[in-house]
Amino acid sequence: MEPFLDTGVTAWMLVSASFVLLMTPGLALFYGGMTRSKSILNMMMMCFGAMAVVGCIYVLWGWSMSYGESLGGIVGNPFDQFGLGGSFDPVSILNEETGAYMPTIVDVGFQATFAIITVALIAGSIADRTKYATWLVFAGLWATLSYFPMSHMVWGDGLLSGAGPFASIAEPIDFAGGTVVHINAGVAGLVLALVIGKRKGWPGEAFKPHNLPLVMLGAALLWFGWFGFNAGSAYGADEVAGLAWVNTTTATGGAILGWLLVEKLKYGKATSLGAASGVVAGLVAITPAAGALTPVTSIVLGALAGVASAFAVSLKTRFGYDDSLDVVGVHLVSGLVGTVLIGLLATDTGLFFGGGIGQLVVQIIIAVIAIVFSGVVTLVIALVLKATMGWRIPEEDEVTGIDQTAHAERAYEGIA
């Protein structure tokens, strides 16, 4: 076969990368609208800061650590393709039979956007109180020490991939990042919330979202961008991409309905924050499963994730960790729901579809490894930064508002 440039797939991957890039500003709005008006800018700045830092380091050593020469199946060699040089292969064969390829540089862009959003997700757990410089340093360190290794393990033919040891039980399924992105970020959010500590006044005082239309806009941009995330992860403009696209929509629909139902039953009212949260829960849950389910089983998965996360957001008050914007309740919990339920619902290999228990076992294994890996790495980074740069702004600055005290700005004009 003669390699040929598949312009259709390349077009779709360029688009997918663009879509996923837009998710991080979408997240900035989703999170920013949920903060109080005195700290939205800081939240948005954490997201934009992640774009800047991770965007730059991804081309320097991120790609190489993800897809470069493997060091024991755990991480790629950062020097192997440092700065996209070295053994960087400009051609990515998509189909061995036809010879269709896309330029690897397109994949670099696509992958960089995943690294960015994963880091940005974590910011939600530490709203209102974090030193900005420490955050920027954390973003670089965490991407390097937690995200790149995880992506190597799962997508770079590493330990948790089909090339790893567990594939003998069943091939682990993580279509677009249930472990790498959501469990990883969710665990990191939990660890940071614990290390950094509660906001002054939490949970006694009211920490109400200050701008729900922004939250809904953010959720919508996330949904839109997620088509690139999930359907782009098909690495093709084909049936798998189409299936992932449709599953992304039906799972989200199911999750909205699931979340709203819980609210209606528990509180008597279905809220817009619930709908927006349901959107994200559904998207998170379908992420690992987008290629493995049918549109109908995706509705079921989404609904279960919506219900699970609607309950899980109350855990933080019960256990007393101030995961401010529910990175744990939404990303960790729905990420786990999606990753594990593949073992039951996968069209070919799921327990409910006659595939036996193997898939379920493997899914649980990769979820647990992701939790442990991310937990340990994040804890080490967080403690080192605590001892060196420090994490917290002064309590008084927190009360006055971090936008004003850390960024010398206020989000909205007023006479004071």
Binding site: K208, Y267, L273, G274, D326, G329
Partner: protein, 112 residues
């Protein structure tokens, strides 16, 4: 001179304004306020956290009037603002030592 201050339901502002205008009042000042009282507030729910909001949106109307008009005009305000439901608000009257119109510097009743 006197200052009539009325804290009323927001949707009654237009009625009160019209009634005062009809009664010959040529100026007034309005601002946003929130009230706490017998009228109960409401509950809000955000991701499972329930908040009781006991402040209710109100509007404050201030009118400077001549001493002799006080009774009439408080009556006008009360009538226009009344719905008969809890939360209709309060009207109160205070004495004013002096009033000055900024544009002209004129003071006293002429400044109204």
């Amino acid at each position: 001179m006197k200052l009539i201050t009325a804290v009323i339901q927001p949707h009654k502002l237009d009625d009160v304004k019209a009634a005062l205008e009809a009664a010959g009042v040529r100026g007034l000042t309005v601002s946003e306020a929130s009230g706490y009282g017998r009228q109960k507030g409401h509950t809000e729910v955000y991701r499972g956290a329930e908040y009781t909001v006991d402040l209710v949106p109100k509007v404050r109307v201030e009118v400077l009037v001549n001493d002799e008009d006080v009774t009439t005009l408080t009556g006008v305000v009360v009538n226009a603002a009344q719905t008969g439901k809890i939360g209709d608000g309060k009207v109160w009257v205070t004495s004013v030592d002096d009033v000055i119109r900024v544009r002209t510097g004129a003071s006293g009743p002429d400044a109204l």
